[in-house]
């Protein structure tokens, strides 16, 4: 196991992980990862399939709780608060740390309802007028408003793949999260829809702490300011994106990003 090199000293981390280990039954998927993410930078997790990047992402809003065999050790904090503490309300945590998945998964409901559902059950808005405001604001931030404002009551699943993904981002935004986790959000999208999501990530930066897992290294280079390279459950290297892609310090990082892996 290697120590993560060049751990970025982040003064006010939004989320901090310390010596996080994840086990699926007897198999260890994450071997002691420590990392900070902040509000001002988009953080990309890269690495080959099976390296643990998605598993680790899922520990940040306790998505692994839903996997019976999964066990998490170590500490993860959100604004200094231990998210695995028994007093943590997991539903509330997942509102604060939203997630967008690889395959767009809108509810089989109207565009409007896809956005309004979260704020309503979280008690953020009840009156129709208030919900209207939240729906418009969320769709605008998701860069989708102009495309759907005249058909808010059409089914969300009738949208194109890229629009569906932006709807899912809008849905995550609607509950006023602090962190947005994205697990390969563009892998099912064409290049133009991908570019729109990437532009959206750029616009959302600073308002939310954003962590994105991607197989596409060019995408990590385009959207992130910080890049973490995972390999075989280790965090091999974490650094400024520009440095990782021009002058990585670790041989394994270099081999992976230059296409010499394997």
């Amino acid at each position: 196991m290697t120590e993560p090199t060049n751990p970025l000293a982040i003064a006010n981390p939004k989320m901090s992980a310390r010596d996080v280990k994840v086990f699926y039954g007897a198999k260890q998927a994450i071997k002691g990862v420590s990392i900070d993410v902040d509000m001002d930078n988009v953080t990309a997790f890269i690495g080959p399939s099976g390296c643990g990047k998605s598993t680790f992402l899922r520990t940040l809003n306790r998505m692994n709780d839903t996997v019976a065999s999964a066990r998490v050790e170590g500490t993860i904090t959100l604004d200094g608060e231990d998210i695995y503490s028994p007093s943590m309300d997991v539903v509330q945590l997942r509102a604060r740390v939203g997630m967008v998945f690889q395959k767009p998964n809108p509810f089989p409901k109207s565009i409007y309802e896809n956005i309004a559902y979260g704020p309503r059950i979280h008690g953020l808005a009840h009156a129709k007028a208030d919900l209207d405001v939240v729906v418009e604001k969320s769709l605008r931030r998701a860069g989708l408003w102009d495309e759907v404002k005249d058909r808010l009551h059409d089914s969300g699943t009738a949208l194109s793949g890229g629009q569906q993904q932006r709807l899912c981002i809008g849905r995550a935004i609607a509950v006023e999260p602090e962190v947005i986790l994205m697990d390969e959000p563009c892998s099912a999208l064409d290049p133009i829809a991908t570019a729109k999501i990437e532009e959206l990530i750029h616009e959302l930066r600073g308002r939310y702490a954003i962590v994105i897992v991607t197989h596409n290294m060019q995408q990590a280079a385009r959207v992130s300011q910080r890049t973490a390279f995972f390999h075989l459950g280790d965090l091999v290297e974490y650094g400024v994106t520009g440095d990782i892609f021009t002058n990585p310090t670790q041989e394994r990082t270099k081999d992976y990003i230059t296409g010499r892996y394997g």
């Binding site: 290294m217 060019q218 892609f245 021009t246 002058n247 990585p248 990082t253 270099k254 081999d255 990003i257 230059t258 296409g259 010499r260 892996y261 394997g262």
Partner: protein, 230 residues
């Protein structure tokens, strides 16, 4: 270094490095031939240096084309990216080195036999020898990704600068004493200056090699002993 998963990428890089090695070898040969032509008043050899420079220019164009293609099609990263960018910058500099050698060759007909016995003329081959070795070593350093050799090239530039200062003073003194030789001495002065510039350019190549090999830029050198007129 491990191979790329995509073999064609390795082939592109190998071809790039092969072209640069050829270009460096030709530039080095051009310097040596130009100096031989100068010493022996060999006008045919001088003309050959001028003609051969076209091949150096052609290699530059070929490398530029290949680099653009590699960037567009392979999206090189990390050390690959540094290698490719260094290659692009190095060929621009080596092309200039070739031009200086050509420039020296073009002056050969202007330096008549009796001038070849001048003391400064006897200094020039040794000076050119150092500059030519710098070019040789800088390109070897690129081929071997050898940062230490690159640093050694950079450090040797002061030798060429010292030679230049010495030649400059000697020629000025000579011209003051023999005003009739001013025209020919001026040509010799330009030749010395060209060699001095070759040393500077070899230094630039070495700096790029250092960057490509390490990802760091060399700290600025103390230029206290730089050429007299600069």
């Amino acid at each position: 270094m491990a191979e790329h998963t995509i073999k064609a990428f390795d082939e592109d890089i190998d071809r790039l490095r092969g072209l640069i090695a050829e270009m460096g070898g030709r530039a080095e040969a051009a310097i040596e031939s130009a100096m031989t032509a100068l010493q022996r008043q060999d006008l045919a050899l001088a003309a050959q240096v001028v003609a051969d420079d076209k091949r150096i220019d052609a290699i530059e164009a070929e490398v530029e084309k290949l680099v653009i293609q590699v960037i567009a099609l392979r999206a090189p990263m990390a050390n690959d990216l540094r290698d490719v960018i260094a290659a692009l910058k190095i060929v621009g500099v080596v092309e200039r080195i070739g031009d200086y050698a050509k420039n020296i060759a073009k002056r050969v007909p202007q330096i008549t036999a009796n001038q070849r016995t001048l003391e400064p003329v006897s200094l020039l081959p040794s000076m050119a020898q150092v500059a030519s070795e710098m070019v040789h070593d800088a390109l070897n350093a690129f081929a071997a990704r050898d940062a230490d050799l690159a640093v050694a090239v950079v450090e040797r530039d002061t030798v060429v600068d010292d030679f230049y200062n010495s030649v400059f003073r000697t020629l000025v003194t000579y011209m003051v004493e023999n005003p009739k030789t001013i025209s020919e001495c001026a040509h010799l002065l330009f030749i010395a200056k060209n060699i001095e510039r070759i040393g500077d350019h070899a230094t630039n190549v070495a700096e790029m090699v250092y960057y490509a090999a390490t990802g760091q830029t060399l700290p600025d050198r103390d230029r206290g002993s730089a050429a007299a007129e600069e």
